[in-house]
């Protein structure tokens, strides 16, 4: 009987986790911008993975491997936000049309400022040239 209770718990957790995974992957196609898609991906990284792992840990073959499966959750919860942070930094840096659909706090990134200066130089250089050509 206790075996069946364990199975029911596992099934409930795993199915819930899979549902969260499905929602996350659906969001990858639903949203339009990479920054929005990151929200959807975070669903898989947090609820999806932790519910599935909890389900697996409940009916793991022995205690030690169950604990190791739980360690995966800890590891993933530590590392995934950092990966998302760096990914978001990449997206904010490289997306030149981002001003059209989101607000970014400028001045926090020193290198961004440098690049913007360089870009401004580029623009002014081109402008001068085109004006001279027109004249």
């Amino acid at each position: 009987m206790s075996e069946w209770i364990r199975f029911a718990l596992t099934a409930a957790f795993v199915l819930a986790g899979l549902a969260f995974c499905c929602v996350g992957v659906f969001g990858l196609f639903k949203f339009k911008y990479a920054a929005n898609r990151m929200h959807a991906a975070a669903v898989v990284d947090t609820m999806g993975i932790s519910l599935c792992m909890l389900g697996f840990a409940i009916s793991a073959p022995d205690l030690f491997s169950g604990l190791k499966i739980l360690l995966v959750i800890v590891f993933w919860w530590l590392s995934s936000p950092v990966a998302s942070h760096l990914l978001c930094r990449l997206e904010i840096t490289t997306d030149e049309q981002r001003g059209e659909y989101m607000t970014v706090h400028r001045g926090t990134l020193l290198q961004e400022r440098l690049a913007e200066e360089a870009a401004a130089q580029d623009e002014t250089g081109n402008e001068i040239e085109t004006k001279e050509e027109q004249a």
């Binding site: 590891f75 530590l78 590392s79 950092v82 942070h85 760096l86 930094r89 990134l109 290198q111 440098l114 200066e117 360089a118």
Partner: protein
């Protein structure tokens, strides 16, 4: 200077003395700060311009080529054929998989007298609970020495070809050009990201410990020198990504790499190369095999695992550093 003593520095780092981390981070920042865009020599400008022009020329040529040589209908056919070939290949491979014998099938061709002998006598002859490790580090230890040497040779060749030093600008035009223009993407990547650094402070020791666990338990559980070395190498790469090459060089330089790999390979070779002279015959070992399942058991396998682990770790980090930065 007492301040530069590595023991003092390690003590600072371990005791988390006020400002120790900040000091080292400032030093790293000074050494690896992004260059000022204002100060450019004409050579740099010329170099960058030539590179960009080359890229544009190649792009234009590729576009021309596709437009001139292929009609729209031909391109559609080409795309269709691409998909068709991929799908056919996947289907063929999947079909082949279904024709393979089932997992654990007793009539599988690999279940012959060789594996039967390894399974029956492996534990008693090598003392390793993990039969795979017993096989690759005892029965076929000579073969594994060759594998480690291949890794070492590969790392050496990559170092020959790609390593930058003071001399290389004399002989290679590319190295000279790179010296003239040091503004490669490694200089612009985000550095000293505080979030990544704090996470790496927690994660790197865990990852290295996991690697050490896998190496030391090689003869007891699945794993061993190769996989554990790969984990430790990944830990070192994580450290470098978070803290930068300047901080890494405080404890891992080219010299360290050389010494670790040489000592590990020589230890391995000395303990197993007698097969050269005995015609691949086994010599009676004087080292006791110990109780199976204990960590100090199975003779030389533990030592050999540690050697292989060191070699793989150093090779992985060496590949990463040389391909990314051109030096260790």
């Amino acid at each position: 200077m007492a301040k530069n003593n590595w023991l003092t520095r390690m003590n600072d780092w371990l005791s988390d003395e006020e400002g120790a981390l900040e000091r080292t981070m400032e030093a790293a920042q000074e050494q690896e700060a992004a260059p000022d865009i204002e100060q450019l020599t004409p050579a740099e400008i010329r170099w960058a311009q030539e590179e960009l022009e080359e890229e544009k020329r190649i792009e234009a040529r590729m576009k021309d080529w596709t437009e001139k040589t292929a009609s729209p209908a031909a391109r559609v056919v080409y795309n269709l054929m691409c998909v068709l070939v991929c799908v056919t290949m996947i289907g063929l491979l999947l079909y082949t998989v279904t024709a393979l014998p089932a997992f654990g099938d007793p009539n599988h061709p690999i279940n012959n007298e060789v594996s039967a002998r390894y399974i029956e006598k492996g534990l008693q002859e090598t003392g390793a609970v993990n039969i795979v490790t017993g096989m690759i580090l005892d029965y076929r230890a000579f073969d594994t020495l060759g594998e480690s040497s291949v890794l070492f040779t590969a790392a050496m060749v990559v170092l020959f070809l790609l390593r930058k030093d003071k001399e290389s600008a004399k002989y290679s035009q590319l190295a000279k050009a790179m010296e003239d223009n040091p503004h490669s993407d490694t200089y612009y990547e985000p550095k000293n990201d505080i979030i990544l650094q704090k996470t790496a402070t927690i994660l790197v020791p865990i990852v290295l410990l996991l690697g050490v666990y896998v190496v030391l338990n090689g003869h007891l559980s699945p794993g061993g020198g190769f996989s554990g070395g790969a984990i430790m190498g990944a830990g070192l790469i994580l450290y470098v990504t978070a803290f930068g090459f300047a901080k890494m060089r405080r404890f891992f330089t080219y010299k360290t790499y050389q010494r670790i790999v040489l000592v590990a390979l020589l230890t391995y070779a000395i303990s197993k190369c007698y097969s050269f002279y005995t015609g691949a015959n086994h010599i009676e070992s004087i080292i006791p095999l110990g109780t199976p399942g204990a960590i100090l058991s199975s003779g030389l396998i533990l030592v050999l695992n540690i050697c292989v682990g060191f070699i793989v770790t150093c090779t992985m980090y060496c590949f990463y550093a040389v391909f990314r930065k051109g030096e260790l």
